[in-house]
Structures are given as C-alpha cells and as structure tokens.
C-alpha cells in the first residue's frame, strides 16, 4: 500500500479515540503546504505527504489543554520534538498518538527561491510542482524548470541521523536505512572567524529583524509564548526599542532557553520572514551540549535531559581542574 494510503488507514483506525489529528495539506499555492486538522474521516482527503511537508507539527501539541487527545503526523526530525516535550513533561504520553513516517528529506523553500532567481524566475509565481526521480519539476511564468532534489533539500536533511520517527504509535511505509553524521562542521567553520567578523555577521543579519516573534512561536520547544519576557512589562527585561541590542538580546535569550532542548528542526529559521539564519545560534549551543554531556535532544525517550538533572560531578566538566 502506498505510504499515504497506509497513513490514512492508520488515522481512520485511531480517529474515534482522538479529538483531532494534525497532518499536512495543500496550501495556497503548489509550493506551499499547510497544517490541516483532521476531525472526521472526510477530512482525510486533505492529507498530503511529500518533500513540501516542511512544518514541524509537534509545535501544536502544547497549544491544547491537557486531556485533549491529539494525533500528530511526524517525520524523523519532528518526532524528536515530541520526545523532548515528553521528557520535559510538557505533554502526556497518554494524550498523544504519534503517526510516524520515514523521510528522505524536505525541500528548503529558500533554496528553491535562490535556484529560481538564478534563472530570473520568482518563487511567488510557481504554477505547478511535481517530484520525479530525485528532482523537483516546476512550471514558472510559462517555463519548465527541473531542480535536482540535492540542490533544494534543507541543510538539516543532509546531516540527518533520524530519517525515521524515533517515537511512534503507528508507522507508515518502510523505514529508511542509513544515516549521516553531524559533527557540527558548519558551526566549527563559523567559529573559525574572528570575534569581530562573527559580530559583524550577526549585526548585518539582525538589522532586518522586525521583532515579529515568528521564530519563537513556530518553535515547538519555546513554550512560554504568551508570557515571554521579551514583551512582558513586569518585569521589563527587554526594552521595546528596535535597536540591534534588543534584537540580538532576544535571540540570545531564545537560544539559551533552548540549549540542550532544541531538536534542530529549523522552524525558527524557516518561519523568519526576513531570512535570518537563526538555527546557527541554536546549533552553536547544541554543539556545546554535545561536547559537555554527550547528548542530542529528543533522541532518547528514557533519558533525562542533562540540563533538567543534577549531578555533583559532571563527567565531562573538570571543575576541580580549572
């Protein structure tokens, strides 16, 4: 049975015990998919699954009151967020049914945009989309364009170790073999620059920030949301000015709150309307967490996250030797 049909059959079977199931459907144009909320069998017609299913739907799990029974469709990377939410007791295992999928990678719309721009074409004018044997075929402004998938796959997919959902109650399709290594080479390369160069890079990037907080609100692990200290006036930690200081300060707060919790789904960066490479900040902290605690967030359901636990002496921190 094709994967999508298998998924639909699984959802149909579990739907009676659930308030709703969150999956992906077709959005406003052929390149944009959008979250869909399935409440009845009839809603299943809306369901799609292909490399345009970019959203990490686990972000919705904390937006419902405890006790609601939710189903969520997840790719490998998304499932890590579910694990992390469970580890942090932000959701209850009995309240969620995880429909896991295998994933060979999702498209980065930014890369598609760049690839089209190279041919003087605009992503906003794509009329049709199809995936054929390792490539993405598009029609834009009367022209046919074929882009190899390798050119448009999200960076996170190139270093993915978790193609299959790491946690699931149902699993559709065949698990994908093989995994890539992620040694944080991109972060190491960035760190190769001088402090001034790095600061200058972030100055340039943050200049564009509109303080819309799409990065925060799209993040499945950024759970303070309505009570975020970036806007609260009591205490008024962050000024409402829109200078670089405030913008960068907010991103620092966001990144440190996610240290060792961020599953690197990249939703912060994808959600940013002005293309600020926010995942780099999160990956920097995760690289430190990996070095210090040998831990990748959301990969081991039974392990207590290192920053939620206390040890008198950390194995990789030589406190006495400083």
């Amino acid at each position: 049975m094709p994967l999508l049909e298998e998924l639909k059959a699984q959802i149909t079977r579990r739907l009676p015990e659930l308030d709703l199931v969150i999956g992906w459907g077709q959005g406003y144009d052929p390149l944009h998919h959008t979250p869909v909320f399935i409440k009845t069998e009839a809603d299943l017609d809306k369901l799609v699954f292909d490399p345009l299913c970019v959203h990490n739907l686990s972000t919705y799990l904390t937006r419902y009151v405890h006790g609601k029974k939710l189903g969520v469709v997840v790719k490998g990377c998304d499932s890590r967020s579910v694990v992390e939410l469970l580890q942090e007791k932000l959701i209850k295992r009995e309240d969620v049914v995880v429909f896991g999928l295998p994933c060979e990678g999702v498209a980065d719309l930014g890369k598609i945009k760049r690839a089209l721009a190279e041919q003087d074409l605009d992503i906003g004018r794509v009329r049709t989309v199809s995936f054929e044997k390792g490539s993405l075929a598009l029609t834009v402004a009367g022209k046919n364009v074929e882009l190899p998938m390798s050119k448009v796959l999200a960076d996170k997919c190139g270093r993915c170790k978790y193609h299959n959902a790491v946690i699931h109650d149902e699993f559709a399709g065949q698990p994908i073999e093989g995994q890539s290594q992620d040694a944080y080479e991109d972060v190491a390369a960035f760190e190769g620059q001088t402090l001034e160069e790095r600061m200058e890079f972030w100055r340039e990037q943050m200049e564009r920030c509109v303080r819309c907080y799409a990065c925060r609100n799209a993040c499945p692990l950024c759970v303070c949301r309505d009570y975020c200290i970036a806007q609260s006036r009591e205490p008024g930690w962050v000024s409402q000015r829109d200078g670089l200081e405030e913008k960068l300060f907010f991103q620092m707060i966001h990144a440190t709150h996610l240290a060792g919790r961020c599953t690197e789904c990249g939703e912060c960066e994808r959600a940013c309307p002005v293309d600020i490479p926010l995942l780099l900040l999160k990956r920097k902290l995760n690289k430190e967490i990996l070095d210090l605690f040998d831990y990748r967030a959301g990969t081991e359901p039974d392990v207590k996250p290192p920053l939620l636990s206390f040890k008198v002496k950390e194995e990789n921190i030589n406190e006495r030797g400083w």
Binding site: Y28, R125, R208, V210, R241, D242
Partner: protein, 353 residues
C-alpha cells in the same frame, strides 16, 4: 499627467540625483530577503519582485521616540522632583523608491486614522508630509497577490507621487501628485508621451495575471454576524501560531504600543509596532484578557480589516491585498480563505442557555 521616459541605465544616476538632498529608500536584497535601505552609490535596487517588508517604517517606524524626559531633584528639597520633557519629531525628507502600489496604498488607510479632522498625530503627519513615493507598477501577479479584491490594482496610483511602469528599455515615469511633478524635472528623464500605450498594455496584462476577482462586499456584515460563532474562529485559526509576522509585514496594520523606557533619572517615551496576534495586546492591568485565545485574536485581525474599519470608513477595506500575510506566514494562514469562508459558510446560532 506628464509622461516621461527613464532608460534603465540612467536609473542609478536618477537615484543619486534624488539622494543628493534626501534619504532615498530602495528595496535591496539581504540573503534571501528584500528590504528597504537608504540608497548610496553602488546599492543595487531589486525591482523584479515584491519586498518582504513593505516600506511601512518610512512613515510609521517600528520604534520611535515620542519624547525624552528627565527628572530633576530640587537640591533644596529632595522630595520635590521636576520633570523636563523634550518632544522628538524625526522627519527627514525622504523618497521611497520602488515600492509597489499595494505598499503605498496602506498609507491611505493610515491617513484616516492618524491625520483626520478628529485626530492629528504630529509624528505621523510630519513624516507623511516629508515623504514622497515613487512607485513601481507590477508586471505580473504573485500567487498570494489579491489587490484586485480590495479595489486596487497592480498599477493603482493611489498614494503614490510618481508611478513607474516597466516598458521596453526602461520605465515610463508619470507624475501622480503635484509633489511628484517636481521630481520629474530631472534632465535624465526623456519625453515619454508616445509610450503611454505600452505602459497601458503592461497594466492590463498585470491585472489579468491576478485571475478572477472575488468581491468581499458582503464581508463586513457577514464577519459581524460571525462574531459569536467561536466554532468558526477556532476552526480557521487552528493552524495559526499566533506570532506577529502578518501584522508587522502588513502595509495597513497601524496598531502601536507606548512604553516608557527609563533608566535612572532619564528615559524616553517610545511608540512601537504592536500586534493583535499577541496575548499582551489586550491584557488588562486587572489580569483580565478579553481576547484570551488565538481564535479571538485572529477574529479581531480579520474583522478589523474587513468589517470594523470599512464600517466607519466608507466601506474601504483595511487591506491592500499585498499577500505578505499569506506568503510569509510560517504556516500559510490565508486571509482570503477566511474572509471567503466567513461570507459563504452558514453562521452557527449560539445555543440558548
């Protein structure tokens, strides 16, 4: 209306001429985003697509100082404190170049709020008076564009001082306002009177590329009718993540917050963009929040644009159809779909208790 012609290769020279005596904001590319930045030699404007962020900040800055203040203690009597206040109006002469008709149309919606017989906002007014718009007509619609729904078009001159239309080899340059006429005196501009037909064909093709018109005339009444139909609002807001991208990128959203940013004995009173998608937008001092959920908040956003604003402003929608709220929404919430559903879907009657 005078029609002039600007050859593409003369564009940098014209921008330099304009920039000699004022700030000229042009759309430029930064990574994959297009944003407005001051022009200087060597800056390459991006004129083949809509900017991610509209030039809203040229007249309505994301954050502006309304006044600075200082507390001064009386050395004779430390209990006595005087306050010194300086009003700070910052309105340098500016030209916004290369925005789209939808980008500048937004200010007509602002005008009815910030510069009307009842209220005159001095900060807004000063910048409005000092800012000119040289707008670029669109050649082709993007998938999220719907300016034709809200009474506009890809060549709508409303709100512009000069309208540029891309034609073979360059641009047709037409003055729209008296102030715009003054900008046309440049020697770099040639006579364009014989090329108006070419521009008209571009306007027509662009309008046709938008596809069918859907008329939202019933939206004000239908949205009001759905005010208590929370099932409807929960349904259409289910995927919203309640961030503020849609409002901050909207050329017509004008809500603000005022805060005193004080440090020690001095500080500033600033006005910053606020947005109705935020829980804090309506949080009252008592702790009560009349719009506690994202469903309530999205209802306000759509209602404001397509019902409450037109109700008090002669039927004009507080939406310019630029489509940014759709194409830059992290989850593709589509305001067109919500308005259409509000009109077409039957309203649930509230249950009698």
């Amino acid at each position: 209306m005078a029609a002039k012609y600007l050859a593409s290769e003369k564009l940098p020279a014209w921008l330099a001429e304009l920039a000699a005596s004022r700030v000229v904001l042009v759309p430029v590319k930064e990574r994959d985003a297009v944003v407005f930045r001051p022009y200087s030699e060597g800056v390459k404007p991006v004129l083949d697509r809509q900017a991610n962020v509209p030039p809203k900040a040229s007249i309505f800055p994301a954050s502006e100082s309304l006044m600075s203040f200082k507390y001064i203690k009386n050395p004779e009597d430390l209990g006595q404190v005087a306050v010194e206040v300086h009003e700070t109006v910052d309105a340098p002469p500016t030209v916004v170049f290369g925005g789209r008709p939808c980008d500048v149309r937004g200010f007509n919606i602002f005008d009815r709020v910030y510069d009307c017989p009842k209220v005159q906002d001095p900060y807004y007014k000063a910048r409005r008076e000092n800012t000119l718009f040289v707008t670029l007509a669109c050649e082709d619609a993007e998938n999220a564009c719907f300016c034709h729904w809200v009474g506009s078009s890809p060549s709508d001159p409303v709100g512009s001082d000069v309208l540029l239309t891309p034609i073979q080899g360059g641009y047709l340059v037409e003055d729209v306002s008296k102030r715009g006429k003054a900008l046309l005196s440049s020697k770099l501009l040639a006579d364009g009177s014989k090329r108006s037909t070419e521009a008209k064909a571009v306007h027509k093709a662009a309008l046709e590329s938008l596809g069918e018109v859907w008329n939202p005339e019933k939206a004000p009444a239908k949205l009001l009718e759905k005010f208590d139909d929370m099932g409807f609002w929960e349904d259409v807001s289910a995927k919203c993540v309640s961030c503020g991208a849609c409002t901050y990128l909207c050329p017509t959203c004008y809500c603000f917050n005022v805060t005193d940013e004080r440090s020690g004995m001095k500080g500033e009173r600033i006005r910053t963009w606020d947005n109705c998608m935020s829980y804090l937008f309506t949080l009252e001092a008592s702790g009560h929040n009349p719009r506690p959920t994202k469903a309530h908040r999205l209802k306000n956003r759509v209602g404001h644009k397509f019902s409450y604003y037109p109700d008090i402003h002669e039927g004009i929608f507080a939406c310019c159809g630029c489509g940014r709220c759709i194409k830059l929404c992290p989850v593709s919430v589509d305001i067109r779909e919500i308005v259409r559903l509000a009109v077409e879907r039957p309203t649930a009657k509230p249950e009698k208790s």
